[in-house]
């Protein structure tokens, strides 16, 4: 079927406009990290006066970026690992079993997604402070506390997406594994997981991104030694002269891991959304 030419023209014009809107900030981030300091302290220029890698070296010294980076990496990896494991079991139960409370569970978990973070922040802060007071378990201002908090943030969506994935796997697979004598755990690990691997990986990346990018809880639930990138990156601007070239260099470096992971797996996200949402 042929398209009328006005559709083609519109497509080119509109998509170009969207691309410019999308790309200009990314261009600024990419190039400003390569500019000498005077380029970012004077009027803006599209092309750096000369290219330098100094900001990528200096940014580690201006603020303790390395420590923030390690904190973020530890917190996000642990939150991701725990969240995926918890989500796999929960999603398998919801997908394969009919049990009392199944519907209540699904609805409750999903609806926690809609509540404002600020609503949990104050009570959670108090609860962590008091857990410490009564049990000695340190959750406030520790990486453990952040991991526990973050992993629940990605749980609802992860469970929901995995239920969609598991539902699309024929039950015949489970049954033949059980005929061979496998219990539920072995069935899940040896039969279902390999089949649902793309979905599991997508969920893992989502959990990592969620933890890596969270700002609100990081700003309250951390101290100097456990601060993550989300708060740490802002400490550049507390200096009288903001070294914008270093800030842009740092922004680029902290973005690369998640952007690469997400873009590499975007197909699975679309597939997961299709399986879960549109059904």
């Amino acid at each position: 079927m042929r398209e009328p030419s006005w559709v083609k023209v519109t497509r080119v014009v509109v998509l170009t406009a969207f691309a410019l809107f999308t790309l200009i900030p990314i261009y600024v981030m990419l190039t400003s990290g390569l500019k000498p300091l005077r380029d970012v302290q004077g009027p803006f220029r599209w092309i750096p006066s000369h290219l330098t890698l100094r900001p990528f070296v200096d940014m580690w010294h201006t603020v303790p970026l390395g420590r923030y980076f390690i904190n973020s990496a530890i917190v996000s990896s642990c939150a991701m690992a725990c969240s995926v494991v918890v989500a796999i079991f929960a999603a398998y139960a919801v997908s394969r079993y009919r049990f009392v409370g199944r519907r209540v569970f699904s609805i409750t978990v999903l609806s926690t997604q809609m509540f404002p973070g600020i609503l949990f922040l104050l009570p959670l802060f108090l609860i962590y402070v008091n857990i410490n007071k009564y049990t000695g378990l340190q959750l406030y201002a520790t990486r453990t506390g952040l991991v526990v908090t973050y992993l629940t943030f990605s749980l609802p969506f992860s469970i929901w997406m995995l239920v969609g994935y598991f539902d699309s796997i024929p039950r015949g697979l489970d049954e033949s594994a059980q005929v061979d004598g496998a219990g539920p755990l072995r069935t899940l690990i040896q039969v279902i997981l390999p089949t649902a691997l793309p979905g599991v990986v997508a969920v893992a990346v989502y959990a990592f991104m969620t933890a890596w990018g969270e700002v609100l809880f990081a700003s309250v639930m951390t101290n100097d030694s456990t601060r993550t990138l989300a708060v740490g990156l802002q400490s550049y601007s507390t200096y009288e002269d903001v070294y914008w070239n270093q800030v842009m260099a740092a922004s680029l470096v902290v973005s690369v891991p998640v952007v690469a992971g997400f873009l590499a797996l975007q197909r699975h996200f679309v597939a997961g959304l299709t399986a879960g949402a549109v059904k």
């Binding site: 079927m1 398209e3 559709v7 969207f18 400003s32 970012v40 004077g42 803006f44 989500a87 398998y92 919801v94 394969r96 079993y97 009919r98 199944r102 519907r103 569970f105 699904s106 609805i107 978990v109 997604q113 509540f115 404002p116 600020i118 609503l119 949990f120 104050l122 009570p123 959670l124 108090l126 609860i127 008091n130 007071k133 908090t149 629940t152 749980l155 489970d174 049954e175 059980q178 496998a182 219990g183 539920p184 069935t187 890596w212 990018g213 700002v215 609100l216 990156l233 802002q234 601007s237 914008w244 922004s251 973005s255 998640v258 952007v259 873009l263 679309v270 299709t274 949402a277 549109v278």
Partner: protein, 330 residues
């Protein structure tokens, strides 16, 4: 969100009586393991949800009834019970506290409406234009999704550099290259800050709308368009009669999610302006954060949070009721 779960949760409710029992037995023979298995599998998820979401929510309601100021942080159970006192303070719109809350709600509603509107519009436009395969389509889609993948703080910090009055690219383009303004406007303070906030938020969020709408568009069978084209329906006619009606269930969920996200948005204003947002861009999350952690009055902050939650619940319920009924009528 309830509609999302309906297909998955489907017929999962418990069945009582003898027929239910025998069905259970049959199922137990089919799926190995005993009745406790699903609950064991859910145990961790339930504990975590309780710890981080449900118990704090109940605690939040409890806190809103207490005079929980800085003196009681370490000894919270000693905070005096003040009943609805906090709510009375917060809802007294003649006092500065109440007036500021009302202003903040208004700002948030406007911000949310603009963000949702633009994100959906951009998402559906790009989604439809990317619906048919052409060379470079995959690349363009990837480029469009990039802002969504960026960590919020990295993206917003970049925008705050771009919006600097003297060194930013925005004023460079608007003033130096296009000569739209005589003098360089401020974008991060004063009334312009609201515009900045919306632009940054749309930039970050519209790729999500595109992602969801793309998934929705992929489920529309191609034969529908072929049949419509055979009947002589043009591009606009197909959009109106096939694409938009077929996307209605997706839109119902997408608009709700976008609304809730933007209404609760904390990251964008916090990174763009810091903890003290300009008056014109004082979103509700920032406002509550300010009232709680700067003045350490957790009681008042909790009362505001509870009101916010009630507001969101009512809006969501009304929205789901209205849109579901329209869907059934149609």
């Amino acid at each position: 969100m309830a509609t999302v779960t309906t297909p998955a949760a489907g017929s999962g409710t418990a069945k009582g009586g003898a027929s239910g029992e025998s069905a259970k037995k049959r199922r137990r023979r089919r799926v190995k393991g005993n009745r406790a298995t699903p609950y064991l599998m859910l145990l961790l998820a339930v504990i975590l949800e309780l710890l981080v979401h449900l118990i704090p929510m109940v605690t939040g309601v409890w806190m809103s009834l207490r005079g929980l100021t800085q003196f009681y942080i370490r000894n919270w159970s000693a905070a005096p019970f003040v009943g609805l006192g906090n709510f009375r303070v917060v809802l007294d719109f003649n006092s500065p506290i109440g007036a500021n809350l009302l202003h903040s709600l208004g700002v948030t509603a406007a911000y949310s409406a603009l963000t949702v509107g633009f994100c959906w519009l951009f998402g559906i436009t790009a989604g439809v234009l990317l619906q048919r395969p052409f060379r470079g389509r995959g690349l363009i889609r990837t480029v469009f999704l990039a802002p969504y993948a960026l960590p919020a703080y990295a993206a917003v910090i970049t925008w705050s550099f771009m919006l600097q009055r003297d060194t930013g690219v925005v004023n460079h383009v608007l003033v130096d290259e296009l000569h739209l303004f005589g003098s360089r406007p401020f974008w991060l303070i004063g009334s312009n800050s609201f515009v900045s906030l919306v632009v940054v938020s749309v930039w970050r969020t519209w790729p999500f709308a595109l992602l969801v709408l793309t998934a929705g568009l992929q489920t529309i069978p191609g034969e529908l368009y072929e049949a419509a084209a055979m009947d002589g329906a043009g591009f606009m006619r197909q959009l109106r009669s096939i694409t938009l009606p077929m996307l209605r269930p997706v839109n119902q969920v997408l608009l709700l999610v976008l609304f809730l996200w933007s209404f609760n948005d904390f990251n964008t204003p916090y990174v763009l302006f810091g903890a003290a947002a300009p008056h014109a861009a004082d979103l509700i999350s920032i406002h509550i954060y300010q009232s709680s952690f700067v003045t350490w009055n957790f009681g008042l902050g909790s009362a505001m949070s509870v009101l916010l939650l009630l507001f969101l619940l009512v809006v969501t319920a009304v929205y789901l009721f209205a849109t579901s009924r329209r869907r059934n009528d149609a």
